[in-house]
């Protein structure tokens, strides 16, 4: 037994971290955050060059053919840097096409997705509420009509993996007829959302296999958990750093035992999540029996901790932590996203209890 990242995974994380530190330091991040699109084309291209955008695309179709754990360690790093852009939905769209696409479909989409030439996205939030595949209501077919609430990718997405009635997935090109998208006034400006409307829109159905939808959902939960872990680790670092530099009453505030203990509690909220998200990611490819349930546990637990850490980070920064100018707010809103996207913790805990047979 070896419960640790491989050297390759550690190197992958370092490389991605280096890229983000170089090309998207906080000064740049803020520009993208405040921009109209929330998209940094140069950064996207750099990611593509590094091969990150096709990590989970099989080698035959131009990708790296890696596993969920590899994807997750990248998601952790993205979360740490609050990397802006459509990475999450892109990776999930790929996951669905890899698992549910015919050879022809794979050939059609995967190479362009792997190279980052086209941006993938997912649209699996029913307009009336519900992320679970049994809550999807748009009738499946070669032409679809209906509304969905929170599709990823902002206005950058080129194609959508869409959730359809009967736990079915289909692929819709953004340019197709009858597609209209409207900006969602989301909190997290690093990952923009749109509401979609389809009106007799052409749709290519993926395999009629509910496992594909399940996999999409579970990998999504894992990536959100990984992002949340990385983000909360960053907020902890920022708070510790602030405590070491800010003075009150003539001393660095990090001298105050009450603040020390608050920061210890934050650390206790952060660090134990690492092994949990690792295992949840690993289970997707290696522990079939547990994969669905542990994804729910990780998503509920780690995104909840992220939100707690974010609240405490605001407090640890004093009044300034509450301003737009303070970087904490960027991660705070990512925490809101990670917690709400794909359903909030209460929903996943209900599933967790059911799957345990409680």
């Amino acid at each position: 037994m070896n419960f640790d990242l491989t050297e390759e995974q550690q190197m992958l994380q370092e490389t991605v971290g280096q890229l983000l530190a170089n090309e998207c330091p906080v000064t740049r991040l803020r520009e993208v955050f405040d921009s109209d699109t929330g998209f940094d084309e140069a950064l996207w291209k750099s990611m593509a060059e590094l091969g990150i955008l096709g990590l989970n695309v099989p080698e035959d179709f131009g990708g790296a053919g890696l596993e969920t754990l590899d994807l997750a360690v990248v998601a952790e790093t993205m979360g740490y840097h609050a990397a802006p852009g459509p990475f999450l939905g892109h990776a999930l769209a790929i996951e669905a096409i890899v698992r549910g696409g015919s050879d022809a479909q794979k050939q059609k989409w995967l190479p362009a997705l792997a190279s980052g030439e086209r941006v993938g996205a997912v649209s699996i939030a029913d307009a009336e509420g519900g992320w679970a595949s049994n809550q999807w209501k748009i009738e499946s077919g070669e032409s679809i009509s209906g509304e969905q609430a929170f599709a990823t990718g902002g206005h950058q997405a080129d194609l959508y993996v869409v959730g359809l009635a009967g736990s079915r997935l289909g692929v819709v090109e953004a340019e197709a007829s009858g597609v209209s998208r409207e900006r969602v006034d989301g909190a997290d400006l690093t990952r923009r959302l749109v509401a979609l409307q389809f009106n007799q829109t052409p749709c290519e159905l993926l395999a009629d296999d509910p496992e594909v939808a399940r996999r999409l959902h579970d990998v999504g939960c894992v990536l959100l958990a990984a992002d949340a872990f990385g983000g909360s680790a960053r907020l902890l670092e920022m708070s510790v750093e602030y405590a070491k530099t800010r003075e009150q009453f003539g001393v660095k505030i990090g001298h105050f035992q009450a603040l020390k203990h608050q920061l210890s509690s934050m650390a206790l909220d952060v660090e134990p999540g690492r092994g949990l998200y690792w295992y949840a990611a690993y289970a997707q490819d290696h522990v079939k029996d547990e994969s669905e349930r542990i994804a729910a546990v990780a998503k509920a637990h780690i995104t909840d901790r992220y939100m707690d850490v974010a609240r405490n980070a605001v407090e640890a920064h004093g009044g300034i932590g509450f301003t737009w100018e303070c970087d904490v707010q960027i991660w705070f809103k990512r925490a809101m996203f990670d917690r709400a996207f794909l359903g909030h913790p209460g929903e996943h805990r209900r599933r967790q209890a059911e799957m345990a047979g409680w």
Binding site: G186, A187, E247, F249, F256, L259, G319, F322, R339
Partner: protein, 403 residues
């Protein structure tokens, strides 16, 4: 203990009701006056009858009534029913006026109290600075007395309403050689003068509820000082007490809780109204325990205040207690709005409530902001421990106070 309104109070209620029937909204040609003007006239009449500004002497524009918590309550209820203007709730009325009444000179009271309480002039507060949040003693804005005028230079932060205010009451270091606390004075400044630069400070919600104020060779007359030179720290503490009470008002938590119950009735969890979910019911019930405890603690506090007795340690904890209730309320609301937790905070200005998801998101964020305004939670915990429970003072705080 007696929570009934006796017959005497019912008579008083009739009297107030009759006054309101006759006076609000305004009648005759006054009927179409703009609200501000109408409110000012109405307030004057209500003061004449002894209904508003009851604790402020008549000579400064108040109605100078003997304290009577019950009458105050009846007035609030009857005015509330008819949406009649109550006392202006600005920071001037709540913080400056009590300070002036206790510490101001005669001319200061005469000049400032009346127009402040009628809402004719408005104030902003200049305490915090970027380098000194909870630690006011370390502030750096300087005032020098030159040719009978104070010349002030520095920067203030968290100044709400600064772009609208006529005046600022602020803390300024005037005695550079004195010990930290002893070097501060409490000055009043006219905001409508060159050298004052107000820049909005954007909050994480996206709205700008506060400002930064840059003071560059700003002037104010020598006698626009409250208390003596170097006494500003003490003078400001009178005021802080008022701020605590006003922010901690139990009414707000009650209203917020009611809103939460409403939200739980309107939203769904797993296809059923959230209010039917046992988990939500339990969480609401737990929260209501705190809300009720807060409410009756508020009753106790008011009763003690009206008897001019000290309610004790509860005075030091009301704000922290309501902050914590606010946290819990906000947290529960986020679980109730579910998917809409993806949205941005929309249109939630401080103190304004909205039943929409975005309003709750704003409240969620503000529940953090409120913990910070007027002394952080940790400072309040120190106060409870040291002044309330009699534990030894903090070494660091001792150092800064020169002990």
């Amino acid at each position: 203990m007696d929570l009934n309104y006796g017959t005497e109070m019912e008579d008083f209620r009739q009297e107030v009701a009759q006054f309101l029937d006759e006076n609000w909204p305004l009648k005759g040609e006054e009927k179409d006056w703009p609200f501000e003007k109408a409110a000012a006239v109405f307030r004057e009449r209500a003061i004449e009858r002894g209904y508003l500004y009851r604790s402020i002497p008549k000579q400064y524009g108040g109605s100078e009534q003997p304290p009577d918590v019950l009458k105050g309550q009846v007035i609030r209820e009857e005015f509330g029913k008819r949406w009649a203007p109550l006392e202006a709730r600005g920071i001037g009325t709540m913080m400056l006026v009590p300070t002036l009444l206790e510490r101001g000179t005669e001319w200061q009271k005469e000049k400032f109290v009346r127009p402040t309480i009628t809402g004719e002039i408005t104030w902003c507060q200049g305490y915090s600075e970027p380098g000194s949040g909870s630690d006011l003693a370390s502030l750096k804005t300087r005032g020098e007395l030159i040719d009978g005028e104070w010349m002030i230079n520095g920067q203030k932060i968290w100044t709400s309403g600064a772009h609208l205010a006529d005046y600022m009451f602020c803390l300024v270091r005037t005695e550079p050689d004195a010990q930290k606390h002893a070097g501060i004075s409490y000055l009043l400044i006219d905001m409508k003068q060159p050298g004052i630069d107000v820049r909005p400070l954007r909050m994480m919600t996206g709205s700008a509820d506060f400002n930064e104020v840059f003071l560059n060779d700003v002037r104010t007359p020598e006698d626009w000082i409250v208390g003596k030179r170097g006494e500003g720290w003490l003078v400001s503490r009178t005021t802080l007490k008022y701020e605590r009470n006003s922010i901690g008002a139990a009414q707000q938590t009650g209203a917020s809780f009611a809103g939460l119950v409403k939200l739980a009735k309107e939203t769904k969890i797993a296809g059923r109204p959230a209010i039917e979910d046992e988990t939500i019911r339990e969480r609401l019930a737990v929260l209501e325990g705190y809300v009720k405890a807060h409410q009756y603690s508020g009753y106790r506090q008011l009763t003690k205040d009206s008897k001019r007795e000290d309610a004790g340690i509860i005075n030091m904890m009301m704000k922290l207690f309501s902050t914590e209730i606010g946290h819990q309320t906000a947290k529960l609301s986020m679980d109730l709005i579910g998917d809409e937790g993806l949205l941005s905070a929309g249109g939630a200005e401080l103190g304004q409530r909205s039943s929409s998801a975005q309003g709750w998101i704003g409240q969620y964020m503000y529940s953090l902001g409120i913990a910070i305004a007027g002394g952080t939670a940790n400072i309040q915990r120190n106060v409870i421990a040291e002044r309330g429970l009699g534990l030894p003072r903090d070494a660091a705080a001792d150092r800064s106070s020169g002990k």
